[in-house]
């Protein structure tokens, strides 16, 4: 395939082709600049002194030792900086009116509430000097009891903050019809009740965070570079929290090395660099290190889930009832309390369930705050229902594929109004299941599994299914309002044609690996009949793209891409009027093809968009009242979420002697509606799968009883490498979304949402003949070995 698609393809279009990414040459050559790469003369490097205790009173902070160290320019305690703040750090999602949220300042004042909570900062001429001096800050702590375990914290035996009356921050309930749920459980022939633990995860984007604030002391303005997913939201929040007028702040996210939600936040270090640059009138920068990131950047997941199904004897589910405890960590970060709500509507999964009940209690603990991490709420929901469906299949003696088939929302039922209150846009769940089973040769695998069991093979085979649906494309602003989120969910775009016919697209989305430049230019290429190479995409800089709500929640294409398409349509509308004027025909007599307006029935009478752009630029002969230039903006507020879906199948081999699990095959059939670029869709699915596999088999942020994080490095926190995962076979069905004009859904989180339960179901399936029904995540070799021993004493497993 051509790397540049320079032939005249717009007639049939580039949308839908596997066009190679335009972002890649800069990234591949080392040209791309991440925050840490920026050279800023005169910048002071900040090092943060962090609490080694999960919970402690900060009795005194003496920075004098640090001030005497080589290269040190300044050092401050929390008290020294108390006057800098316009408000405490922001939480944008107070999910209930009575939610508790203890004030959170970038440097703790009197009380440190997790290991890693900042207690002082040091600024020096180099990072090494700042690190040297940080060790010379003398802090006296009075250790306090720590609330570490989530369920223990929920009991309020120990309070995570001494000024809280309870660790329970809020309880949020979604029970549209309580009586219906009760009736369904009372009448159920079969019930399933499962308890699952969503372990804490460390997002571990490969680029740690970084901030660099360059002040212009005499102009009173601040240029903030941050490795962030949300420059627009950050600007507003920095303004409020640091007491700097918002219009004086320009936020730029340069190349950003992955986010996965961990850079969807407003962090202490961003605020500190800003206020310290204001105070010292010098550039201030901070580069996070990996072991620091483990404590200073948000964690994901952290829930204890209880899910119950009420079903008939055939395994048809009548009701789903869910209760959650959700670990907030020590403070509410930007959207911490809302994460469980993003899954709250989806615990019935892809199944047609009449009665539904969900309750979640958010609980403070003395641990790093949690917040949105790839999938945010939806992986947790999908895990619970997909594990529970396997439990139901066992209970009614049915194959897991069959029990799913019996419960799917039928393809003829869309749009589907769920008992939880959503309107699922479109779907064909059975179609995706069928395709996935065929792709993986499900029947053949079951035969092989039986053969191995019959032979008593030591490598047991397991097959796990996960049929998922998720809600993404965050989000309709009215829905967000009903959930108490303080911002909207729209996205903004501007499209302009330059005098030479080249195109500029300004987007409020903020790519950090998703390939927006490629996808946006493909959309525009087809709309305007230009080459994708002729489209410049401007983003991630509040001075260039002043309006936007950034990138998270698989929203960028469905919301931001739609805004771009709408802006292009408006530009075309204007160009049509101009063309009609110049060709002296009625606008409705013009048709647009491959970037050229021609008169219906008289194709030789035509004008290209590029020529019209020049005409609009010179403005020598415009229709009466028409403003110069071809430029249009659009802000799109979605009318609904989008609902991608699919079925993933994991195949594992379990070494019955050691408990080691090898993921040997993996097939995924996803449906994200229309695809702009299937190459990019594939990549999102691949990466998503491995992130979900990582939760299933490898990763956990482990704390000891005192609240010390034990997994602060990549030697302890086991991000899988290529050697731990197989290649994937992918399939796709296409069910366009009716909710947006592009017919697109979202694919950034789907892989992660789907894969975790598929893998755990596969491990349990491999051991099911021994009586194993559950293994906690991550499914470590030791846990597998112990499960075998507990289920089948005498088979060699541990107890």
């Amino acid at each position: 395939m051509s790397a540049t698609m320079t032939e005249d393809t717009p007639a049939k279009g580039v949308v839908g082709t596997r066009m190679l990414r335009r972002e890649d040459p800069a990234l591949l050559s080392g040209e791309a600049r991440y925050v840490h790469d920026l050279v800023v003369p005169g910048a002071l490097h900040m090092a943060v002194v962090r609490s080694p205790y999960a919970h402690a009173r900060v009795t005194s902070v003496d920075v004098s030792g640090a001030l005497g160290m080589p290269g040190v320019a300044a050092a401050f305690s929390g008290a020294d900086l108390a006057g800098e703040w316009g408000s405490a750090m922001p939480c944008a999602w107070p999910v209930t009116a009575d939610m508790q949220s203890p004030p959170h300042f970038p440097v703790a004042l009197n009380e440190a509430c997790y290991v890693g909570d900042a207690v002082a900062v040091v600024l020096a001429g180099s990072q090494a000097e700042a690190q040297d001096a940080a060790g010379a800050v003398a802090v006296v702590y009075e250790e306090l009891p720590a609330a570490v375990d989530l369920e223990d914290a929920a009991s309020d035996r120990v309070l995570a903050h001494s000024d809280l009356s309870s660790n329970r921050a809020y309880t949020w309930e979604l029970t549209p019809d309580a009586d219906a749920v009760t009736r369904a459980f009372d009448a159920a022939a079969v019930t399933v009740k499962e308890r699952y633990v969503q372990q804490r995860l460390i997002p571990a984007a490969m680029e740690p965070r970084g901030v660099c604030v360059v002040p212009q002391p005499f102009g009173g303005e601040y240029l903030v570079y941050s490795a962030t997913q949300i420059p627009h939201i950050l600007r507003t929040m920095l303004g409020i929290t640091a007491g700097v007028p918002e219009e004086r702040i320009r936020v730029v996210a340069p190349s950003v090395g992955g986010g996965f939600g961990s850079k969807l936040d407003v962090y202490a270090e961003e605020l500190l660099c800003l206020v310290l640059s204001r105070r010292l009138r010098k550039p201030v920068r901070w580069s996070e290190e990996r072991s620091e990131a483990a404590q200073a950047t948000i964690h994901g997941r952290g829930q204890v889930q209880e899910i119950e199904l009420a079903a008939d004897t055939d395994g048809r589910v009548q009701a789903v009832r869910v209760r959650l405890l959700a670990d907030m960590g020590a403070y509410m970060q930007l959207v911490t309390p809302g994460v469980p709500l993003l899954g709250a509507f989806l615990y019935h999964g892809v199944y047609d369930v009449a009665a539904y009940s969900f309750t979640c209690t958010g609980v403070f603990t003395n641990k790093t705050p949690t917040d949105a991490y790839r999938g945010a709420g939806r992986p947790e929901a999908t895990y619970a229902i997909e594990r529970a469906m396997d439990a139901l299949a066992r209970k009614v003696g049915t194959d897991p594929a069959e029990v799913r088939r019996r419960n799917f929302i039928g393809a003829d039922k869309f749009p589907y109004a769920s008992a939880a209150g959503l309107l699922f846009d479109s779907g064909n769940y059975e179609g995706a299941l069928d395709a996935a089973l065929e792709l993986v040769d499900y029947e053949g695998l079951r035969e092989e599994q039986a053969r191995r069991r019959g032979q008593g093979a030591s490598k047991l085979l397991g097959v796990g299914l996960s049929s998922y649906v998720e809600m993404c494309g965050l989000a309709p602003s009215r829905v967000l309002a009903s959930l108490n989120y303080v911002a909207g969910g729209w996205e903004a775009a501007t499209v302009r044609m330059l005098p030479t016919g080249k195109v500029q697209v300004v987007t409020g989305a903020t790519p950090h690996g998703q390939g927006h430049v490629t996808s946006w230019s493909m959309i525009i290429a087809d709309k305007l009949g230009v080459s994708p190479e002729d489209v410049e995409v401007l983003h991630s800089d509040t001075a260039v793209s002043p309006l936007g709500l950034d990138t998270y929640g698989s929203r960028s294409l469905a919301v931001g891409g739609t805004a771009i398409a709408l802006a292009a349509d408006r530009l075309i509308d204007k160009a049509r009027l101009l063309a009609a004027h110049r060709l002296e025909v009625a606008p409705e007599d013009l048709e647009l093809s491959s970037g050229q307006f021609s008169v219906r029935g008289s194709p030789s009478s035509a004008m290209a968009l590029g020529a019209l752009a020049f005409e609009a630029f010179t403005a020598h002969d415009l229709p009466q009242g028409m403003e110069p230039n071809l430029e249009a903006s659009a802000t799109y507020d979605p009318t609904n979420f989008t609902f991608p879906f699919g079925t993933h199948v994991a195949v594992v081999e379990v070494d019955a002697e050691t408990g080691k699990v090898d993921l040997v095959r993996y097939s995924a059939v996803d449906d994200c509606g229309n695809q702009i670029n299937p190459l990019i869709v594939d990549g999102q699915v691949h990466g998503g799968i491995v992130q979900g596999v990582a939760q299933a088999l490898f990763e956990e942020a482990v704390y000891d009883d005192d609240g010390n994080l034990l997994t602060t490095t990549f030697t302890d926190y086991l991000v899988p490498a290529a050697s731990e995962v197989p290649s994937f076979s992918l399939g796709r069905t296409v069910t366009p979304s009716p909710s947006n004009p592009l017919g697109v859904k979202g694919i950034g989180e789907a892989g992660t949402i789907a894969s975790t339960p598929a893998v755990v179901n596969a491990v349990v399936d491999a051991l099911s003949h021994l009586g194993v029904v559950d293994i906690a995540m991550p499914v470590t070799p030791e846990r597998v070995w112990r499960s075998i021993g507990a289920a089948a004493p005498g088979t060699g497993g541990g107890r």
Binding site: Q127, E657, T658, A721
Partner: protein, 275 residues
């Protein structure tokens, strides 16, 4: 992470290195490939005042056929050992294990001398050398001495090396067949949760990775084999008398179990390879 400051000296000979080491043995560290020491220094878990870089001392990077044994210079990198024809031909266990250390980048820098001198019970090469009944050649201000592997690994990160001594050569008996190696971990790049190096040549020597404060022999298994037990029965005794650590990757109980499985597999490999 950036190490604390230190004085750097580059040694041109063993004598020069030993001379500098003698000046202040307790705060001086030898730097070879640096893949054990530098990570500790970056985390500031090690803060030596003086680093003596021995990495360029000529004549210490070799794998040599010395008749009944193979001699390996202390500065031989894991990669060099892995692909050495001499090692592959005469001590394939050692070549194989060298190829299992860390990851390719680590193997391009790390040295056998550095790995053995670090004395980490989770490292692979000490177990291989122990199973091969190797000999360490140690130079110091009191001259040269030879230390049997069985006497070299003393405790957690503790070896028979005095602070003013330097490991310069490792000698292992030739063992072209009859070997097995098992490394069990969750990710390929990680240290072994449990590892086993076995050599079966007449008598059997079975060395264990990460089953105690230092690399050690599965004595009960060896005795059982000497007494004529079959492999399965001998392997079942692999953890007898051992007190393995518990950590995030495995409890002591699990490690004991793994040792029995992995020792059996290593012995099966060794006997299959011998046949």
């Amino acid at each position: 992470m950036i190490p604390a400051s230190f004085e750097y000296r580059r040694a041109g000979s063993v004598e020069e290195a030993l001379g500098w080491l003698a000046e202040d043995p307790d705060s001086t560290k030898l730097l070879a490939g640096g893949h054990s020491l530098l990570p500790l220094m970056k985390l500031r878990l090690a803060t030596p005042g003086v680093l003596v870089d021995v990495g360029r001392i000529p004549g210490l990077n070799y794998v040599r056929d010395d008749g009944d044994h193979v001699a390996i210079g202390a500065l031989t990198r894991h990669r060099d050992l892995e692909v050495s024809d001499v090692a592959r031909g005469h001590v394939p266990l050692l070549a194989h294990v060298a190829g299992q250390v860390g990851d390719p980048q680590v193997r391009h820098r790390g040295t056998i001398g550095g790995s053995l001198a670090h004395g980490d019970p989770a490292s692979d090469l000490p177990a291989a050398v122990l199973a091969l009944d190797g000999t360490m050649v140690v130079d110091g201000p009191r001259g040269r001495r030879e230390v049997q592997a069985a006497d070299f690994f003393r405790g957690f990160l503790e070896t028979a090396l005095a602070p003013d001594e330097m490991l310069t050569e490792v000698r292992v008996h030739k063992a072209p067949a009859g070997w097995g190696f098992q490394k069990f971990n969750r990710r390929a790049q990680d240290w072994a949760i449990v590892g086993v190096a076995a050599v079966v040549n007449g008598d059997a020597r079975v060395a264990l990775v990460n089953m105690g404060p230092t690399t050690l022999r599965a004595r009960a298994t060896e005795e059982a084999l000497d007494a004529g037990a079959n492999i399965a029965d001998a392997a079942a005794r692999a953890a007898e008398g051992l007190d393995p650590p518990s950590d995030l990757n495995g409890s002591a109980e699990y490690r004991r179990h793994l040792a029995t499985v992995l020792v059996r597999r290593a012995l099966e490999e060794a006997t299959a390879a011998r046949g």
